[in-house]
Amino acid sequence: MSIAYGEDRFPITTLFLELSVSFTASHQPLRERIEAALKAHGEPLRWAITAVDLDKQSLRVEAVVIHDAVGP
């Protein structure tokens, strides 16, 4: 049997993005640096470093982030 249900709201949207993150030496762990960069765009849901450019000291990151404050 199926269940009927009410009007609970989860006002979120998901957004795909690609960005570059600096790969210079740092005391901050790399995971935290990437998540900090992603948080400028939303809450990180799923991400990965997809390429490393050692000449430019740069990482390519692809991600899906969540916006919590937008209506469904």
């Binding site: 249900y5 795909f16 470093i49 490393v52």
Partner: protein, 355 residues
């Protein structure tokens, strides 16, 4: 022989949607998982490794952990508490047509009758989920859903009203049987076009409710193709990909958040992991970076090529770099036995003073 050392625990990761040569298709990293589970005391891995549509292989010492949960486990935020059985709640996308919905409900009933799994009553979302597929510039597939709120409302209903302890989601994915991506995938090449969106769906539920979750896509049956690759063939066997998901979730560990403390003695935490096995070019994920920060030994496998270009060497992550999973398993056996892998090679340099 009585075991007097801590259980040797291995994490096996084959990220989804990146065209992994082994594990990028229909549960085709499962033989690797079976082999590692045979030499390890505990294996922690994820649905992309374990799910072969109608095919699966239960292993008593393996823990089936969704990717978002695995990332938080690796970061030390969440622990894993093994269970005897979960009540699995089935969540169906409203966009699934009546005949296809019936096939999935019958798969659920079959799992109850034939495997003895415990399922709650099911829920249909109050809107079509609106799955959208996307391929990024790296070649990886990502994807989003138009109505994540509908997905989460349905999951909340299953958990809070039906008593579900794990969530099996079936979303209607676009049929695109003439696409080059699907044809390549069926022939054991390219990237799974559905995988990225599948991961987003399960990540949303695990992030919101901290319960085990996995996803099976609902698709119209494809016409027979004599050239289907063995690596993709498991998805040609029937009308649904749901059986493996239900079997995996039925014994998936529950998540223990840090705020709940570390008191349950049976809970497994990241600092109990002895080794991580990952494709060589896919070291840029959250879990691997967390394990690397904690100095957990990492073994990278070159044979398992992917569309990623983020190797342990490029990211300056210390690792055992091997060619094949057979070599990786050798490293695990050696490590578990307390034998340095270098001692098994012909040339062993002399000991040196510390500079």
């Amino acid at each position: 022989m009585t075991q007097i050392q801590a259980p040797y625990t291995v994490v096996l990761i084959v990220p989804t949607g990146i065209g992994a040569a082994i594990g990028g298709y229909a549960g085709d990293a499962l033989p690797v998982a079976r082999a590692i589970a045979h030499v390890a005391d505990r294996l922690i891995t994820h649905p992309n490794v374990m799910n072969g549509a109608q095919l699966y292989w239960p292993m008593a010492n393996s823990l089936y952990v969704e990717g978002y949960g695995l990332d938080h486990f690796a970061a030390g935020h969440w622990g894993l508490r093994p269970v005897c059985q979960n009540r699995v709640g089935l969540l169906l996308d409203q966009a699934i047509e009546p005949d296809l919905r019936l096939r999935h409900l019958q798969a659920a009933d079959a799992a109850r009758a034939t495997l003895g799994l415990q399922l709650t009553d099911y829920v249909v979302t109050d809107q079509p989920l609106g799955v959208e597929l996307r391929t990024a510039s790296s070649g990886a597939t990502w994807g989003t859903i138009q109505h994540p709120g509908s997905l989460l409302r349905a999951a909340k209903k299953l958990i809070h009203e039906a008593g579900a302890e794990a969530i099996a989601v079936v979303a209607r994915f676009p049929d695109d049987e003439d696409s080059d991506a699907l044809q390549s995938y069926r022939h054991g090449q390219g990237v799974d076009p559905l995988a990225g969106a599948e991961a987003v769906i399960s990540h949303l539920i695990v992030r919101t409710f901290q319960v085990p979750c996995a996803h099976a896509p609902a698709l119209s049956p494809l016409p027979p193709d004599p050239d289907v690759s063995p690596r993709s063939a498991a998805e040609e066997l029937g009308y649904t990909f749901l059986p493996c998901v239900l079997a995996g979730l039925s014994r998936a560990p529950q998540f223990v958040t840090s705020s709940q403390g570390r008191s349950p003695i049976e809970t497994i935490w990241a600092d109990q992991v002895n080794a991580v096995v990952i494709p060589e070019t896919a070291c840029g994920g959250s879990a691997v970076l967390s394990f690397s920060d904690a100095a957990t030994p990492i073994i990278t496998v070159a044979d398992n090529t992917t569309t990623m270009n983020a190797s342990s060497e490029q990211l300056m992550i210390p690792a055992y770099r091997v060619q094949s999973y057979l070599e990786a398993i050798g490293i695990l056996v050696s490590h578990k036995a307390g034998i340095s892998p270098t001692a098994l090679q012909p040339h062993l340099p002399t000991i040196k003073p510390l500079n």
